[in-house]
Subunit: 477 residues, 2 copies
């Protein structure tokens, strides 16, 4: 692959490699305003696939979509004390509209709890109006100082679920149901293994009672918070005075959850699966699961191969497989191999005169070296089988990488060592909020979560106190 077309080596400079992959694969580009991003068609197609999968899971669990305005009156933002402290400093503010200065400045939503709960106040009177299970696909704005494509940009796309319930238990159940859906989205579709757990007090969402999270290890061994789900208790209902008449005919504040994943997931896919050649896409979300490259020398061969591929295309189409037939004449097969490898297409089919003569197809998987031949009769079966194997293999590789870079630590020294090496560190924890901040200052790592999966008892790595709480430490994005 020519210098001008390839990407920086991943092992050499992970950060530059990441940006190279995004720009060269045309997943995204920098927008004109500092910190903004344009999601280009190839990147947006990945997002559309993620949306389809997530939206289906949301609807299967009883959720419906809606759309709320993005302008939030300043006064709304100030109603929930922790929330305003967490979000107001990073908001974009509209002060003028229609050529006039506005009476009240409007915040562009950094998240929509406040405006949604202002509406829920109008809609909720009694337990019969509950639960409300609404999701919204939208853009949000957070004025970030240090930005990175897909991971942290001033504006990004996401979904935000906002539900209202009659009891604390039901809200808690919902918050946990949604973090489980995120686990499924990440592991079964993006092939990214995650640790599912609860955030500590220091790391939870501004305004939440509990925050649940899915944490993934990136290719540079840093953690990425890939999705969160919050049990908001009655905090927003109290801030917006949303009461309902319960079954006992008493007025009670409503219970809430919120949960979201964003275009950041595309960054996770790049960082978890990518390699020195560029992008590696899991078949479940790849815009093209298959690329077909013809190899001909004569016009006669070309005609025969086109005819042969037409037959294959019809079968793949009928089977709902996303593929692209790259029959461009100005590029060589070798160039196309490199191009589509860089772009991460999971499976390549090569069709030359030999394949036509022997009624076969040559397969090249993106995730492993080498080629394999197969019968054209069974092309759909073989493609499906290989895509399944690739999907599973990507998950296994990512899990192996995480396991190889996860350390059990039993002292602060061991934590320090682990954090210097990079990776996840698992240890017992019974420290205070202050202890947590100290660790962050000294190690640059944070407690990513308290995993749902716990085991026995041990001593806190910092205080030595006996505890049953295991946590995961890591440097993170």
């Amino acid at each position: 692959m020519g210098e001008d077309r390839g990407v920086t080596q991943k092992s050499k400079d992970f950060s530059k490699w990441y940006t190279d992959v995004i720009l060269r694969c045309e997943l995204a580009d920098y927008g004109p305003v500092k910190g903004t991003m344009v999601i280009r068609p190839y990147g947006y197609a990945v997002w559309e696939n993620i949306q389809k999968i997530a939206d289906k899971m949301f609807k299967e669990t009883g959720h419906v979509n809606a759309y709320f305005p993005m302008f939030i009156p300043e006064s709304f933002m100030k109603k929930e004390a922790e929330h305003v402290e967490g979000f107001a400093p990073e908001c974009a503010v509209v002060t003028h509209g229609g050529g006039k200065e506005l009476e009240e400045p409007l915040y562009v939503r950094p998240t929509s709890e406040t405006i949604i709960w202002a509406m829920y106040k109008k809609w909720i009177k009694s337990y019969r109006d509950l639960p409300i299970l609404i999701n919204q696909w939208a853009n949000v704005v957070r004025w970030e100082m240090r930005t990175r494509l897909f991971l942290r940009t001033t504006e990004f796309l996401w979904q935000e679920g906002h539900t209202a319930h009659a009891t604390y238990e039901e809200a808690e159940e919902e918050a946990r149901r949604m973090i489980e859906i995120y686990r499924k989205l990440l592991e079964d579709y993006l092939a990214i293994p995650v640790i599912v757990g609860k955030k500590t007090e220091a790391e939870k969402f501004a305004g939440a009672v509990h925050t649940y999270t899915v944490e993934a290890m990136m290719g540079d061994r840093k953690a990425l918070q890939a999705g969160t789900s919050h049990n908001l208790g009655q905090n927003f209902a109290k801030a917006f005075d949303v009461k309902f008449l319960n079954r006992e005919n008493e007025l009670e504040y409503v219970y809430a959850t919120s949960w979201g994943v964003s275009t950041r997931l595309i960054g996770a896919v790049i960082m978890v699966h990518g390699d020195d050649k560029g992008l590696v896409l899991p078949p479940e979300v790849a815009p093209y699961q298959v690329v077909i490259v013809p190899i001909w020398k004569s016009e006669d061969e070309k005609i025969k191969i086109n005819e042969y591929v037409r037959n294959i295309s019809e079968k793949l189409n009928a089977a709902g497989i996303r593929f692209y037939y790259d029959d461009r004449e100005q590029e060589t097969p070798g160039w196309k191999f490199n191009e589509w490898e860089m772009r991460g297409v999971p499976l390549r089919l090569e069709i030359g005169p030999r394949e036509v003569a022997s009624n076969s197809v040559m397969f090249a998987r993106r995730d492993v070296p080498g080629k394999e031949t197969g019968s054209v009769e069974n092309v759909v079966g073989l493609v499906k089988e290989k895509l399944t194997v690739i999907q599973q293999n990507l998950f296994k590789k990512a899990l192996k990488f995480r396991e190889e870079n996860t350390y059990r630590v039993s002292s602060y020294d061991e934590l320090n060592e682990a954090m210097e090496r990079g990776g996840f560190a698992i240890g017992y924890w019974a420290g205070t909020l202050e202890d947590e901040r100290k660790i962050q200052e000294e190690t640059k790592a944070t407690i990513r979560c308290i995993p749902f999966e716990q085991e026995g008892e041990g001593k806190c790595i910092l205080t030595g106190k006996k505890t049953s709480t295991l946590v995961v430490f890591a440097k993170s994005y």
Copy 2:
């Protein structure tokens, strides 16, 4: 139907009827900031169906989706002279971000030509990079003084296509292809007949060479511009200095189109098909195409009916029909009939002990009075057949209404009369831009378009000049 649950009579106060339908059917609600709208789940489900249909047609014609930032630097807005004049006065402006005043104010996109062409400048070098056929699903903001739910709100949802081409002819072809797709969307799916044509100079998009439009007649006989497609010529390429090396190896400015439809289409559906009972939804976009209402008196009947409906549900599910089984016990069948009629569900299935005993189903269509019985064996076939008939009947009714309210006019007096009666007036036109403005002032009507379908020659209704240009006049939203 009780006073408290029904809607104002359509014939009595069309405007109040329209708002009643939206609020009572929970299609949308007013947002907290003046002029904003919340699209509630029932309304958003209609939008999702419209999105699916349009997105499929866009993709079938080679378009791809992408996402561009919504903040546009003030300086970009000012690059295309007509464009800034048309849009700047109605923009919302962000002046602060991250707690600081910005060096350059940012406009929240009222439409995205400027930011997209700033990016196209980076991406387009040669004819090999063309065409670019990008569409974006997004929110946009236009600071409107007089707002109305779905039709004109400060923020709304839409799609905007922005394409780049190597020749004028190709751009013209694209602009016309897309207005034809909008015609198809409106007529074949929303059951709304439209007049397809070209806008006059006075009415075209700020920055366009030609604007094509689909114009529909609403239930109050006013016109609604339901979608537009613009041939932008080289105007934006010149403003953003976007040149490409053509096949003759010469630098040339790129040719552009843009085209869009918005959540305004939901307003059109309400106003075209609705009646005194409320909403009437075309089956193609109805969230529920069918509602099933059980009618029982005893527990025994209930069990049998539930079993009977389970069988029907499985068949409808397998056939991909969107339905809802309203088995709520706290409401009567009569209440449910009224409720779902108000909500515009195209077809109701009633299942009582008589239906169970005779292996039949009772059908009630929303668009015509009366009931019909049919065999449960063939329930899917009957439902499909009836939905097709309803879809066609809604279109026919709307077309008949438009024809009954369209007048041929041959003098200014006749135009005045027609505009007083309300409806569309068709007449020959050879007036100037000034004449057009005069007519607007005096009659409150505008030239909606110069229809693609023309015929012979005649005399201009104002100037008496001979011309071959027929136009459509109407008061409009």
